[in-house]
């Protein structure tokens, strides 16, 4: 391994620490690394080529489209119907509104590929309802922040898209692989929420008429996850094409309900452009850093070191879990993914972990990063929505972090959870 990686990593972390935008920190570190490795000849030309090539990808096309679908759905304000639908079905249970929040997050997650959008959209609707029914605010916030993370596990998922691009895996198969782990995680979250909720914190009992009305009102939105999943699973359309259909569908539903005007379309489009550009720059400049790591032989050296370490399977997986937990405290989720996947993917392969299962593992790790302080972005989002003190919210989210860590082990020890459904697809994996 070439040890130029040490100063380059130090510069990268130093730049991040002083508040440099992450994509720029990646670019400058890669520049330094390539200079130390290869000298200054055609340095910037090579970087320009690398950044362009990283973005010149059909897989990435789905990113702006799923973001646009999510921002459009947010703009329609129809998310309250999802929550009402979920609440009418489970509000009679102990902690029913909490369970309804998890269900609403899961449904929104099956439309949007974004964790923050899920937490923010459902949070705006669920937080007042939970609070008015006696749920402690900090616990409600923790539930919404954690439920939001389902956004990047349940397909479509921007995290899985990037993983597919980095490791050359079928994005469709990755999306399908995320379904069962997503549902299991949602179930575990709902079960914990129900068990941990005081008995008096229950919602109103609803009638079958209420439930039927809720289905009718939320029907058009409820149909969208089915369209997305069916399109990808059957292979009728690529994830990118399904994303474009989702955009059109939400536009039609929004217009039909009179919830989408020019102002909403503008706002959603503007938000989608900012979000997409941010990810594109991370991909473009992250690829330069990845290229540098590959040249220094870091992934191979790490794989070799682990192979020679004499550590068992469990110990290595635990090391990876710990690595992601610590890194997630300091790095933003997608940046973390772009930096670590090229290094750890060969390690996972050497351990015999299926690429799809490892993808789900990484996305779970990224999810944990979204809700662990100090940079857990979902925590900030929910703290802002509910005006919850950050430290109380951070403490309340710990049980959900533990549930996710358990899921990380589960997807690696029961890999069928991720690989079974994709194996049944007509175009296989």
């Amino acid at each position: 391994m070439d040890y130029t990686v040490v100063p380059v990593l130090a510069v990268f972390l130093g730049l991040i620490a002083v508040g440099m935008p992450v994509f720029m920190a990646m670019g400058i570190s890669a520049l330094l690394g390539n200079f130390l490795l290869q000298g200054g000849d055609r340095l910037f030309e090579n970087m320009a080529t690398g950044a362009y090539n990283a973005l010149n990808s059909f897989v990435l096309l789905a990113v702006p489209l799923y973001i646009l679908a999510g921002t459009l759905l947010e703009a329609t304000g129809l998310s309250h119907r999802l929550f009402t639908f979920a609440a009418t079905w489970v509000s009679g249970l102990r902690g029913g509104l909490g369970v309804a929040t998890v269900i609403a997050c899961s449904i929104f997650a099956a439309i949007s590929g974004s964790s923050v959008a899920t937490a923010a959209t459902i949070g705006l609707v669920a937080m007042p309802a939970l609070t008015s029914h006696g749920y402690p605010t900090h616990r409600s916030g923790a539930l919404i922040a954690a439920g939001g993370t389902l956004g990047i596990l349940i397909p479509p998922s921007i995290g899985l898209l990037l993983y597919g691009m980095l490791t050359d895996q079928s994005v469709g198969a990755l999306f399908v692989a995320g379904v069962l782990p997503g549902l299991v995680l949602a179930f575990l979250m709902a079960a914990y929420t129900s068990a941990a909720t005081p008995r008096e914190a229950t919602g109103e009992l609803t009638t079958w008429a209420d439930r039927v009305r809720a289905i009718r009102e939320a029907g058009p939105i409820l149909a969208l996850p089915i369209i997305i999943f069916a399109g990808i699973y059957s292979g009728i359309a690529t994830p990118t094409e399904v994303a474009a259909v989702a955009v059109l569908y939400i536009m039609i539903v929004g217009l039909a309900h009179g919830r989408l005007g020019w102002a909403e379309v503008l706002k959603a489009g503007k938000s989608a452009v900012s979000g997409s550009v941010m990810i594109f720059m991370l991909v473009a400049f992250g690829s330069l850093l990845t290229q540098f790591f590959t040249l220094t032989g870091v992934p191979q050296a790490l794989t070799q070191a682990i192979a020679n370490s004499g550590l068992g399977h469990f110990a290595i997986i635990t090391l990876m879990v710990m690595f992601y937990l610590v890194l997630g405290m300091f790095l933003e989720a997608l940046s973390m993914m772009l930096v670590t996947v090229p290094i750890l993917f060969p390690v996972a392969q050497s351990l015999g972990i299926h690429p799809l299962a490892f993808g789900i593992f990484v996305v779970l790790a990224v999810e944990v990063a979204q809700i662990t302080p100090p940079v857990g972005i979902n925590l900030f989002t929910v703290a802002g929505i509910g005006r919850i003190p950050f430290d109380r919210l951070s403490r309340s989210v710990v049980p959900y972090v533990l549930i996710m860590v358990v899921m990380m082990y589960l997807v690696l020890y029961a890999q069928g959870l991720s690989t079974w459904l994709p194996a049944t697809m007509s175009y296989g994996v």
């Binding site: 590929g113 959008a117 489009g269 594109f280 933003e332």
Partner: protein, 184 residues
């Protein structure tokens, strides 16, 4: 004797420069916005035509070019709006004055990098243009045209960084964007 000039008047030209830089990047952001909608339309058209058994041969290729346009046209505007991921946990513990100084240092360093990157991209553009390179796809698009997007993106990014630096020098407030949510 020269007339006395007010602080506002002294700042007139640089302030106008900041406004112009912001306006150009806002216009580029609108172009990125338009490209995003056209991109959605092209993908949808391709899906529709494929359903009827007559897929376009150019749809995928054009979609990728439009995505590149979104990325590089919008990068300056995203920087003006401070929409890029930054870790502010450590700097948040420092005094506002030190935070501003660090922001300035970051902007200066980023500007130097961006200028180098843009010059590198421009050299590539000239190289592709001189040799007449084209994509090996059905549309045979000149590579110089696509590389121009990278150059333009670099220029917009540099303009946004210069505007930030000028804002710091003039003590102007950073334009606060609406609280758009990050996508992850």
């Amino acid at each position: 004797m020269l007339p006395q000039t007010s602080k506002a008047a002294r700042h007139g030209v640089p302030e106008r420069a900041v406004r112009i830089l912001d306006t150009v990047n806002a216009a580029a952001g609108k172009a990125a916005f338009a490209a995003l909608w056209v991109l959605s339309g092209v993908v949808l058209l391709d899906v529709a035509l494929r359903t009827f058994g007559t897929p376009t041969l150019w749809g995928s290729e054009v979609s990728v070019y439009l995505m590149l346009a979104v990325a590089f046209l919008g990068v300056g505007h995203a920087t003006t709006e401070d929409a890029h991921f930054r870790v502010t946990v450590i700097t948040g513990m420092l005094s506002p004055r030190v935070q501003r100084m660090l922001d300035l240092l970051c902007d200066l360093l980023a500007l130097v990098f961006t200028i180098g990157f843009t010059v590198g991209a421009a050299r590539l553009l000239l190289f592709y243009h001189q040799l007449g390179f084209q994509t090996n796809t059905i549309l045979r698009v000149p590579l110089a045209l696509l590389q121009a997007l990278v150059v333009v993106g670099g220029v917009f990014l540099a303009m946004a960084l210069v505007a930030n630096i000028l804002r710091f020098a003039l003590g102007l407030e950073h334009p606060k964007p609406p609280p758009d949510l990050p996508p992850a």
